[in-house]
């Protein structure tokens, strides 16, 4: 846990706390926080900002509201206990929920170069996918039209800028052009989310893009 060196930005954590991120980014944030106490604590700080703002202003409630609420409380289930959420060694609970099972349930599809992907169901404001990159293989050189978050779940990759291992998030923007390469030794599994299609340099991935939906 203490090995994580690339974290979420304050901007992303604040938007996640406020509840204004596209679903695909929410999934990356929830998954990262599941394994990162530093960002969990920062999020708690942003939730405290929300609490302070909530506490600062009030509207008038109808006179019968409390009685309505008490009636509903007395007629319904007494209390709710937090449910245990399954997770596995690679996938934290938010991803197991999104997939409907562990790593063995992922429906991989080949996308060329030995790389496999599985697109996760989210709202269409941004897309989320799991990527399986064989040890030593590269994702084609590409740039970005929008924001791309890549969270490492297993193995490690590096690009021109830095190295990313389990728990690390790479935040790529319009200004980032990179070729992520999985390190030798262990296949790399990542969760990637983006709110715009990637821009590939080479002609072949560009032709394949509509089919691969990347």
């Amino acid at each position: 846990m203490s090995m994580i060196t690339h974290h979420l930005s304050d901007k992303l954590l604040m938007a996640y706390s406020a509840g204004t991120l596209p679903e695909a980014f929410n999934l990356v944030v929830a998954t990262h926080i599941s394994v990162c106490d530093a960002c969990r604590a920062t999020l708690a700080g942003f939730d405290a900002v929300g609490g302070a703002l909530l506490d600062d202003d009030c509207a008038t409630m109808g006179a019968d509201c409390l009685a309505n609420v008490m009636a509903r409380i007395k007629s319904g289930a007494a209390t709710t206990k937090p449910e245990a959420r399954p997770s596995d060694a690679v996938l934290p609970a938010p991803l197991v929920d999104a997939i409907g099972g562990g790593l063995d349930r992922v429906q991989w599809r080949a996308v060329g170069g030995g790389v496999r992907q599985a697109i996760l169901k989210t709202s269409d404001k941004a897309s989320a996918r799991l990527l399986h990159i064989p040890a030593g293989a590269a994702v084609p050189d590409h740039g970005h039209h929008g924001l791309e978050l890549t969270l490492v779940l297993q193995g490690a990759f590096h690009d021109e800028d830095a190295r990313f291992a389990r728990g690390d998030v790479e935040i790529a923007t319009q200004d980032t052009q990179h070729t992520p390469i999985a390190e030798p030794g262990q296949d790399c599994i990542c969760l990637a989310a983006t709110d715009a299609p990637l821009k590939f340099r080479a002609i072949l991935p560009r032709l394949a893009q509509p089919f691969l939906r990347i």
Partner: protein, 181 residues
């Protein structure tokens, strides 16, 4: 704006709801937080009628989940904000927002009194500091939380005094992880 001088101990009232289903404690929480949750939902774009309806849902959830409130990790207002935020996302049909995996709740996870007190004080400081921010910055933060600034429109929030709260919560998390190992 609300005076802090005579603030009741909301955390203690939540505990009374959890432990003895205390109606009076809940009525006090309702009188304070119900109207605030309604105002929050209206500022987020709900009309008055549905905001009032959803504020009632939120308060029902506060009763049912009171036993999960941990005053070593959040103030009552913070915790109720997270419930209201989740209800707002459902109500306005915003993008789904999965929660992170929670740390397990063992019998050892009893909140540390000292942690809880320090967190309370730091939350009060944060509230004060937020009020003291330059108007432009404060209104940017309000719009981020209420009026749905998109993530790309949120400016960098440097100057927000989160430091002490963050390290306090991190300490509490470390202690919790330690007690679980």
């Amino acid at each position: 704006r609300v005076s802090r001088d005579t603030t009741p101990d909301w955390a203690a009232l939540l505990r009374r709801v959890a432990e003895t289903q205390d109606n009076d404690a809940f009525a006090a929480l309702f009188a304070h937080f119900g109207p605030r949750v309604k105002a929050y939902l209206m500022k987020s774009g709900a009309d008055a009628a549905s905001a009032e309806e959803c504020a009632q849902d939120v308060m029902v959830t506060v009763w049912r989940k009171a036993g999960q409130f941990d005053q070593g990790r959040a103030s009552a207002a913070t915790w109720i904000f997270t419930i209201a935020r989740n209800r707002r996302i459902d109500m306005l049909r915003r993008d789904k927002r999965p929660d992170p995996e929670d740390l397990p709740w063992g019998p050892e996870a009893e909140p540390d009194q000292e942690d809880a007190l320090a967190l309370q004080q730091e939350t009060a400081q944060l509230t004060k500091a937020l009020r003291a921010l330059p108007e432009a910055q404060r209104s940017m933060i309000e719009r981020a939380y209420f009026a749905d600034l998109s993530h790309s429109e949120i400016a960098d929030v440097t100057g927000l005094p989160l430091g002490t709260i963050k390290s306090r919560i991190r300490l509490a998390l470390e202690r919790l992880r330690h007690s679980l190992n």
